[in-house]
Structure formats: C-alpha cells, structure tokens
C-alpha cells in the first residue's frame, strides 16, 4: 500500500494551512490597523510578529466555560465540525503542477476526486452545522439569532455559489479541479492567459461575493454582528473552543481564496513561465509561488473590503442573495451555454 | 468480497427499522426521519443493484428518489411547523381535526 505519500501530503498541507491561518490573522490585524491609521499589534516580538503565537497560547491556557443551560454534547461538537469542514475542504484543491522529486513526479493535490467541485459544495453545506449548532446549543438568544442567521445566509448563498461555478464546469467539461486548472492553459491572441476570470467575469464576481457570504466576512458578517448580537453564534464560547471557531473562520478564508485562484485565476499557472527555459524543479516551485501569490492578492482584497463597506441589513442580505445573485448566476449559465453553442457551431 | 445479498439484507433491515419508527412513534418529526430512513434503504438497494449489474440506470433512479425526498422535506416540515404554530404540538395523536 502506498499510504506514505498521502500521509506526508496531508501533514504538510495541514501544517501549512494552520500556519497560514495564524499568519493571515496577523496580516488582517496589521492591515486593518494600517487602514484605520493606528499601530495594531506591536508588542509581542519584533513589530508584533509573534502576536498570533501569544494568542494561541492564551486561548489554550484559558478555562473552557460552558453555560449551565447549554446542551453539553452539541456545544462541544459544534467547533469540531467547523474546523473539520474548513480543513478537509483543502484536500481537493491543487496547489501546484506536478513536482519532480527524487526521480518521480508528484501531484500536488491530496485527493484528486473526480467530483471535486461537488465535494467542495458538499463541504460548505456541512459548514452550516457548526454555526447553527453552536448558536442553538448555547441556549442564549443572541447565539440562536446568530446561528439562525448564519444558516439562512449560508443556504441562500450556497445556491448562487454553486450556480456561478456551472459556467466554469461547462467550459472545462469536468468536475475535477485539477483538470479545470489544466483547462486554463494557453493564451488568447498569443498574450492573454486563458483564465476563467476572463471568460467567466460574471461567474467570477458572483462566486467572489458568495464566498464572502460563505466565510462570514464583512459586509456579510451578520452571524456575528457585534453591535446587535454580542458575538453571534460564539457568544458563549471561550478558550480553545472559541479559538477553533476563530481558526476555522480564517482557514475558510484561505480555502476560499485558494478555490477562487484555482477555478478562476488559472490556479498555479504562471504566464509564459514555460518559455523561460528553467529547470523543472525550479519551475514547479515557481508555480507554487504563483499560486500562493494569487491567494495573497485575494486575501488582501478580503481585508480591504472588510474596512471599506458597511455591514448589510438582514433584509438587504436576503434581497441581494435571492433577487440579484441567483438570477444573475442563472443568466450567466444561460449566456455561457449560448456562447459555447455559437462558438462550436 | 461482499456479495450482493449482504447489501440487500442490510437495506432490508434498514427499511424495517424505518417502518417500525413510522408505525410506533408519535412525534411527527421522528416519523419524518423514519421515512427518510426507508427512502435511503431503497436508494441503497438501487445503487447496490446498479453497481453489481454494471448498469447506471439504478443510480439515476436514486436522483429521482432524492428529488422527491427533498420536496417532501420542504413541504412536510413547512406543514409540521405550521401545525406547531397553531396547536403548539407535533404529537400526531393530537392532530386529529379531520378525524371527527
């Protein structure tokens, strides 16, 4: 049994994902501080770079307080579901081209599932449980509001998320994410890279907006709107259980930025890199770097938008989801079909 | 190697469990869940036949069953919640307005 390769991959990806989450938390805080013209964390380590480690240590050491009226079992289960869903989604995302190591080609993807996109949609569907159950089991009205809002929000935006991907699936003709990335090779007119963001601009925008809603980031952070709901679904959580929610939120952000990169921004493709005549290993590493750079751009975008747009009101959120996003993404499917038919005629 | 009959026995037992639930429980939501169990056991049989006979049509039927289950979940739960709102109970023995 060749179990060693997947185990090493899982270990590397899991480690990288958790480290990246910590870094993104810090980046978020620093960048927010910059936007708001303040310092941000600057006490722990040089320039505050150790802040995330200090936070983790603090969260682990803290007492785990469970409300007396809470449903203990579900209260414990909810953060576990959240973090599991956030971390397992990354399994089907390819983060690099095949890499030649020790005389063998390795695929840089943990599980090349041939229904990868559906797997991701299924996993985001499971993500609803974490938030809903957390809100319900705390037995606190603010938590319950947060939980109910989050499930309504996730279910509404999951639809337009799935539908905005159909255009990409139609162009690539496959549900396998690795194949979708590979289908974005090549150039139009010899210089425009064939990325889906260019052929599917409307799908890209709807998916991007829906991914904000799915990760509960501003302007869609109604499940944890501080002025109205205290802390939303995680009001009654403390210690490492709160830490898991916090971590899963940032892991979700990383995963969705990786997904946007893979599906719309050409994944690990680096335009014209093949023509530079580099060593295959260097080229493969460069491609991983390109993937991470694109992810970084998307994450920066998340942070900028967080401090640019105010929070939606609940009815505005629902109106946007059902009356704008859904019709637009359905129209996008139709338009893609018509154009494809016209091009292949 | 697991033969086909084991899958069939498994789904038969699952179907019977669901049937017991439908017949004996009084809470409308539990009855609802038991119906889901029965539908799932049928799906399992269909996929088992499809897999063992090498014919995809069985898997196709599963999708239609799932569609009906989804429609049933939406309408059925809406009815249950509407009844609860009016009578404050989901006990099937107390929902007897039509049994005059």
């Amino acid at each position: 049994m060749d179990l060693l390769e997947p185990i090493i991959k899982i270990a590397v990806v899991l480690g990288a994902l958790l480290t990246a989450s910590a870094i993104v938390v810090l980046f978020d805080r620093k960048f927010s501080a910059y936007i708001q013209n303040r310092y941000g964390p600057n006490r722990v380590g040089p320039g505050g770079w150790m802040q995330s480690i200090a936070d983790v240590v603090k969260l682990v050491m803290k007492e785990d307080i469970v409300p007396k009226a809470a449903n203990r079992f579900v209260h414990d289960l909810a953060p576990m579901i959240s973090i599991t869903v956030a971390l397992t989604t990354f399994a089907v995302i390819p983060f690099g081209d095949t890499i030649p190591l020790f005389g063998k080609e390795y695929n840089l993807i943990i599980a090349d599932v041939n229904v990868g996109i559906l797997y991701i949609l299924a996993m985001t569907g499971m993500g609803v449980y974490g938030l809903t159950l957390a809100g319900w089991s705390s037995n606190n009205k603010y938590s319950l509001f947060g939980g109910l809002r989050s499930s309504a929000q996730l279910i509404s935006y999951e639809l337009s998320m799935g539908l905005s991907l159909i255009g990409v699936i139609m162009i690539a003709g496959t549900l396998q994410i690795d194949d979708i990335v590979r289908s974005q090779t090549g150039y139009w007119f010899g210089w425009i890279p064939q990325w889906n963001v260019i052929s599917q601009p409307i799908g890209f925008i709807t998916f991007f907006v829906a991914s904000f809603a799915e990760t509960n980031r501003l302007p869609f952070d109604l499940p944890e709107a501080e002025p109205e709901l205290v802390g939303g679904y995680h009001t009654e959580y403390s210690g490492m259980k709160f830490g898991l929610f916090f971590l899963s939120e940032y892991a979700n952000m990383i995963v969705s930025s990786a997904l946007i990169t893979a599906l719309f921004l050409g994944g690990w493709h680096l335009p014209f890199a093949e023509t530079w005549g580099l060593d295959p290993l260097v080229l493969a590493l460069l491609k991983i770097g390109a993937f991470m750079f694109k992810m970084f751009i998307i994450i920066s975008f998340y942070v900028v938008i967080r401090w640019t747009l105010p929070r939606f009101r609940y009815d505005q959120l629902m109106n946007l989801g059902w009356k704008v996003m859904l019709p637009v993404s359905i129209a996008n499917v139709l338009a893609t079909g018509v154009v494809m038919l016209w091009l292949t005629r | 190697m697991v033969p086909l009959s084991h899958y069939l026995f498994l789904s038969a037992v699952l179907f019977m469990t669901g049937a017991v639930g439908v017949l004996t429980r009084r809470n409308a939501i539990i009855v609802f869940m038991s119906i889901e169990l029965m539908l799932n056991s049928v799906n399992l049989t269909l996929v088992a036949f499809s897999s063992f006979l090498g014919n995809v049509t069985g898997q196709m039927l599963v999708f239609f069953v799932m569609t009906v289950a989804a429609a049933e979940a939406a309408v059925g739960l809406a009815i249950i919640i509407a009844i609860y709102r009016r009578k404050q109970t989901v006990n099937l023995d107390e929902i007897n307005l039509l049994k005059w």
């Binding site: - | 809470n27 169990l37 499809s50 063992f52």
Partner: protein, 167 residues
Amino acid sequence: MDLYTISFYMFAVLLLGSAIVVVFSRNIVRAAFALMITLLSIAAFYVLMMADFVGIVQLLLYVGGILVLILFGVMLTNRQISVDIREGAIQTIPAVIVTSTIGGILAGAIWSTAWPMREAARSVAATAPVIGEMFLTTYLLPFEVASVLLLVALVGAALIARRERKS
C-alpha cells in the same frame, strides 16, 4: 478479510446502530444526530460501491440540505431539548406484525433468488458524465417533471410557512 470487507461491516454496524437510535431515541436532538450518522454511512456505502457521484450528492443533498431542514424543524418545535418525546409506544403489536411480515417477505426473496455473482465495481470510473448524458437523453421527461415538482414544493412550502397577514 480485506479492507473492503472490514469497512463494509464497520459501516453496516454504524448504519444499523444509528438507525435504531433514530427510531427509538427519547431525545429528538439525539435522533437528529443519529440520522446524520446514518446518512453519512449510506454515503460511505455509495463510495464503497464506486458510485462517487451519488455519494457526493448524498452528502450535498441529504446531509447538507434535508437534515438541516429537519434540524430547523426540531429547533423550532421543541422548546425543552431534554423533554421526553416518546409519549408511550403506540400500536406496538400491529407494528411488530407488519414489520416482521415485510422482513420475512424480503428475506425470503433475497434468500431464494440466485443473484448474479458479479463483483461490485472496484475501479474508479467517472459515473457523472454517464449519468448526465442519460438525464438529458433517455430520462429527459422525468428529469423535467422532477424539476417542476421541486418548483411546486418550493412555492408550496413558502406559502404554508408564511405567516398569515391579519386583514
């Protein structure tokens, strides 16, 4: 005993155990969780039989959709979560008779039929393209009827659940 057989029996125990909890549990929340485990193990069986598309749709639709609705139903209709919702078993004897009759007939049918001893599909062949092809050719009419059914269900559920306006 290879890995396939071991996982079959493991998931079989999980499936039946959780199904029994669904049916006989006194706590409705526990029943809903047990149903989640049941649905997940059904998905595992689909994957064991190499029906990857059906398996993932099971996750997407049942676990991610229908069960969320059921949980909503549980939360909205149950104030006290620890309340005993059994309210006495009814019709136990007729239920046992009916179920054992069904079980007997099924078991007899399964025993007496000579099933083709073909092995289950063990190779990874993409079933999604085949199923998609069949939906849009041979089974086009049922497919469209199913979508109409879903639309009707959507409208109907919205109509029932809407709070009545006081006029």
